[in-house]
Symmetry: C2
């Protein structure tokens, strides 16, 4: 970067003001945003508030060696909004807190906030608060997202019933394979600094990893199709783990069909190259931010054949547990080996 | 500690479940707490939501050498609730996110959460969500608090008008002097490990530093006295800085009378000992978590003589700026040299 402005030149209040000055307020429910002891939000009559929060730690959740700060800002908002959509709600406001070491210049944080702003614009959410402080090492981001929905529209993980169909949006495993490519190129770079990373041909899976989107379109589509999911969750830790969350909280079992799991050709190709089973990437890879939900059997006709959705299994009774029906017709118990931030980092 | 359970034995989901299992849900507005993609909150008709967030970083905001983890948990909730009270609202829910290194055992986090739970119980707020992840170094806490109030009751920093009276609750400078005592004993300990800290006689100011309370009682008292502040802020960064926030956002000036600033005898005593002017401790020390507010002159009779309040000045016009009228009758421009987390840490 050409210019480097040290953070201490601005101080805490100056920094927040500087970084948030170009964030417009668009949501009519935002009564007061950044700048007071607290933000003020109006909840329309008949609606409930949903609130979710995620913490992202440098070296655990992201590696700045291959994550551009603007992408990091964008993704850190998206992962929170994904949780709001998973409640069948529409996100409306976020707060962004950040601990940052003096390794970062003002210009670096401007990049980060440019990504945050881009996500706010795309998803039409307002930045209404946050906190900025120093850190002894690295960057820690903590984002909280608010959303709203009519009370009767909100969907939890707990409503799946026996014989409901299990449906997933988009395709799975791509973000995980993108990460493998980035990690490989990082190792190449470490052993031969100056080597140009070879990322050509991996556009799709790299975008899945570096610039995921939250499925706002799916929530809107379900609404327009008049489908009210009986349960829903977003896929952040891998399909297997998320299915088991729904099963646990709904007190049901589930049969998942391997052959029905949607995996993109680019993901299958990369999995082959890395000698990874692509079903494993889909089941345990995580970070796809697709929506996994259950619907009543009577709603099947409404989404049958729609390319946005794959029906991948059905809900059984609790005693049966969660099972994977393999391509060969075998039946194995599903186990969650999803990405665990705590195990991964410690 | 007798037992040490490593965090990786539990994993992320196990850890959250373990730490939050004894948190009861008490608030009728909490529809769904921990355990889904997001928590669900109901906002009563006619009320607005307020939301505030704070990030606390080890080595910047707290020093575990002299901060017991239980106190840290308590205080980290209190500082957020204080912001909710500063809006004249009543806190209802919090989320707690935490990045933690493997230096911490499960038992240490249980202590931290015991403090968080104690604050939740005392202030009647529900823990409804959060995130737990690993950190490469130290402990980072990010807490978000929600509160509610009737729309017309909410008070911002922007409503002060010329001739309004400036009022503060409790007394000031104590938390800062408590910190000086703790820092002194830390230095003694570092030069002579094993030395017993000499903390006797400092109970009041140590409690102000280590176990501050948010002034819920003041918000309730003002309501019962039928006083609606015209502006309000909590004192986290020092009286001077907070007065200037109100002045800035209300487009007014302010005359503050040094002789009216409430300082406890224990604080004055410690200030003498440390050769610190106690007015400076009150103006710039911070962390007192008292409420600073303005009232219409016509409300003066309602709180006159009430020992919970001190009238310390009055609002003037913007051109006059913020001024301190000293004990000797001199007039100096007020300047904010409050505790700046960014400058302090970098």
């Amino acid at each position: 970067m050409d210019n480097r402005t040290e953070l201490e030149q601005l101080g805490e209040f100056g920094l927040i003001k500087h970084l948030t000055q170009y964030f417009p307020i668009e949501h009519k429910t935002t009564i007061k945003a950044v700048g007071d002891d607290a933000a003020i939000v109006e909840i329309p009559e008949g609606e409930h508030l949903v609130i979710t929060t995620d913490m992202l730690v440098e070296g655990v959740h992201f590696d700045l060696m291959y994550t551009p700060l603007k992408h990091l800002g964008y993704k850190s908002v998206v992962v929170n909004l994904s949780d709001v959509f998973a409640m069948n709600a529409i996100p409306s406001q976020i707060t962004v807190s950040m601990a940052v070491s003096n390794r970062f210049s003002l210009e670096a944080l401007e990049e980060l906030y440019a990504g945050i702003k881009k996500a706010c614009e795309f998803y039409k959410v307002d930045l209404v608060g946050g906190d900025t402080t120093s850190s002894k090492s690295g960057l820690v981001l903590s984002i909280t997202a608010l959303g709203m929905a009519a009370k009767e529209k909100i969907v939890t993980r707990a409503g799946a019933r026996e014989s409901d169909l299990l449906v997933v949006s988009g395709d799975l495993g791509g973000a995980y394979m993108g990460l493998q490519v980035l990690e490989r190129e990082k190792e190449v770079f470490k052993s031969a600094p100056g080597a140009q990373p070879d990322l050509s041909g991996y556009d799709y899976i790299l975008e899945r990893q570096l610039k995921p989107e939250a499925r706002k379109d799916i929530v809107e589509l379900l609404s327009s199709m008049n489908i009210q999911p009986t349960s829903m969750i977003d896929i952040s830790d891998g399909l297997a783990s998320e299915i088991m969350h729904i099963a646990d909280q709904s007190f049901v079992g589930c049969d998942l069909y391997e052959e029905k799991i949607p995996v993109a050709p680019e993901t299958i190709q990369a999995a082959k190259e890395f000698n990874i089973d692509h079903t494993t990437a889909a089941l345990n890879g995580g970070e796809d931010y697709e929506l996994l939900f259950t619907i009543k059997p009577s709603d099947y006709e409404k989404l049958k054949g729609n390319p946005s959705f794959s029906v991948i299994g059905h809900i059984t009774n609790e005693a049966q547990g969660c099972r994977l029906v393999t391509r060969g017709g075998g039946i194995v118990a599903l186990s969650a080996q999803g990405w665990d931030a705590l195990r991964a980092g410690i």
